[in-house]
């Protein structure tokens, strides 16, 4: 392993790697249960704002704008921990969700409310979450 890789993987310097579009992928989980709520993207500003305020901020690729989660819905995400993966090209948030606790814009707790069934069709989670 090169010295540079070693520093990235085994060092204590936070050096998030943004992609060619200036984005880093973020997996957001419910701190209490580890459940994955959503996957979104951050640019440098969104990451900075998240760290500074303790509230999850993302970059909306479709709207091309900074977005504080829960800004309009009240479903804010209070960040209890911000983790980074081995090669520092993905971050993970452990959050406490405000409002009614839902993270998905469809009104569900998690965006991952469908699983691929044996027949090749998507099956909705029974609890609607």
């Amino acid at each position: 392993m090169s010295q540079a890789s070693k520093e990235v993987e085994e060092g204590s310097v936070f050096a998030p790697k943004f992609d060619a579009n200036g984005l880093i992928v973020c997996v957001t989980t419910e701190a209490a249960t580890h459940e994955v709520l959503m996957v979104a993207y951050m640019n440098e500003l969104a990451l900075e704002k998240t760290i500074e305020t303790g509230l999850a901020h993302y970059w909306s690729r479709s709207r091309r704008s900074l977005w504080r989660k829960g800004e309009t819905s009240g479903q804010t995400q209070k960040v209890l921990a911000l983790r980074v993966d081995c090669d520092q090209d993905a971050v993970l948030l452990e959050v406490e969700v405000g409002g009614d606790g839902k993270a998905c814009h469809t009104g569900r707790k998690s965006c991952f409310y469908r699983a691929l069934g044996d027949e090749g069709a998507l099956v909705f989670s029974a609890d609607g979450a």
Copy 2:
């Protein structure tokens, strides 16, 4: 919401959305605990192979090759569920890890073994996992 968006979000047709590079992001979790183990990417072939074999396959962006997780290390990932998010541009695997149960190439269970501390430096998880 347009009819097309509605079908993507509320339909039962699995229609994964690959990005401009032909990739889709995949969050892999330990089925028993929901813990996030890693974030990786799949191309269409990796996704097909994952579904066909029930073992996680990814696309290595650095090596530019298809990669069956655990091929050399024995740390295979048996897929118990494959989920997709609301807009179908991210997948989530719930897996059972083979071998010594480690998913990260650094020898740890999860790739997310460091969290950002109050002083701005990364802090390693106490359990080394």
